[in-house]
């Protein structure tokens, strides 16, 4: 039985050899990923879609330069990120600078929010529409640096190394940003979970 990787490598070889219609098949499993990557960068559905199309076309045009040593998904994500960055640069000359200059060490409270009876929250709570809505909003409102890493890792489910590779940053930077993004979301979403812990119970007195 062929693994996904060998099927993919085979597809790529055939496309490059002239069976270009197969590119439709090659890209299909990653359509969602390309769109979400660009949504994370563009923060606008129409722009993300437009950029996603452009990124896919670009990946077709440059398929010959794909090296088998990286995963196709990582390579494709890198192209998508570059497309998004290019557009942001064009849209706002200063946008790129502010994105790149945002630094890790900034002040911030990355402490999760306590809640007591999460275990009592029925699973159906997760099915609630407003929770999904709140999550989408919270993700959209994450600082750019954190959102990009979070989307690649937790939405597209790339691993830490792949995320680092696609974004051109180190593994340790990915870990820091991911941690902060997750804690920020946990904090933001606690109010949407059934009940939060009342402060008077003095958890911190007990904990520390």
């Amino acid at each position: 039985m062929e693994t996904k990787a060998t099927t993919e490598a085979g597809l790529i070889a055939r496309i490059l050899a002239g069976e270009k219609e197969l590119f439709h098949e090659l890209i299909r499993p990653y359509e969602r990923m390309v769109y979400l990557t660009l949504l994370a960068i563009m923060k606008n559905e129409a722009e993300a879609e437009d950029a996603a199309q452009e990124a896919v076309i670009s990946s077709y045009r440059h398929l010959g330069s794909f090296r088998g040593d990286a995963k196709f998904s990582t390579w494709l994500t890198t192209i998508a990120i570059n497309e998004g960055r290019k557009r942001l640069r064009k849209a706002k000359a200063s946008a790129e600078d502010s994105i790149e200059e945002e630094v890790e060490g900034q002040e911030g409270d990355y402490t999760p929010a306590p809640l007591t009876d999460w275990r009592e929250v029925p699973l159906e709570a997760l099915e609630r529409k407003e929770l999904r809505e709140a999550l989408r909003t919270a993700v959209a409102e994450l600082p750019d640096l954190y959102r990009h890493v979070f989307i690649l890792r937790d939405l597209e489910e790339l691993n830490i190394e792949e995320t680092a590779q696609a974004m051109g940053i180190s593994v340790s930077v990915v870990k820091v940003r991911l941690h902060r993004a997750r804690i920020m979301l946990q904090k933001r979403l606690v109010p949407y979970l059934k009940t939060t812990a009342p402060a008077r119970r003095g958890f911190f007195g007990r904990a520390l």
Binding site: Y35, E49, Q53, P112, W118, L126, F150
Partner: protein
Amino acid sequence: MKLECKHVWEHISEYIDGAVDAKLREEIERHLEHCEICSAILDSTRNILVLTADDRTFELPVGYSERLHARLAKELEEADKEPRKK
């Protein structure tokens, strides 16, 4: 050494990813056994990640795939007329 809650929170993301070493993992797990607060924080964070990965949370625009493949088909057609770029 008894692990403090704050210490658990600092490692929560790596713990979820299974990226903490065996010793720390054991310490965290021992802490979680008796600490409801950290357990709840861990569970809620995990559930948020489950919800994030759920296809229904972040949906694609209606017709996205059709439009993408139509655009691609056009590109493939045009590529016939000129040689592929390197």
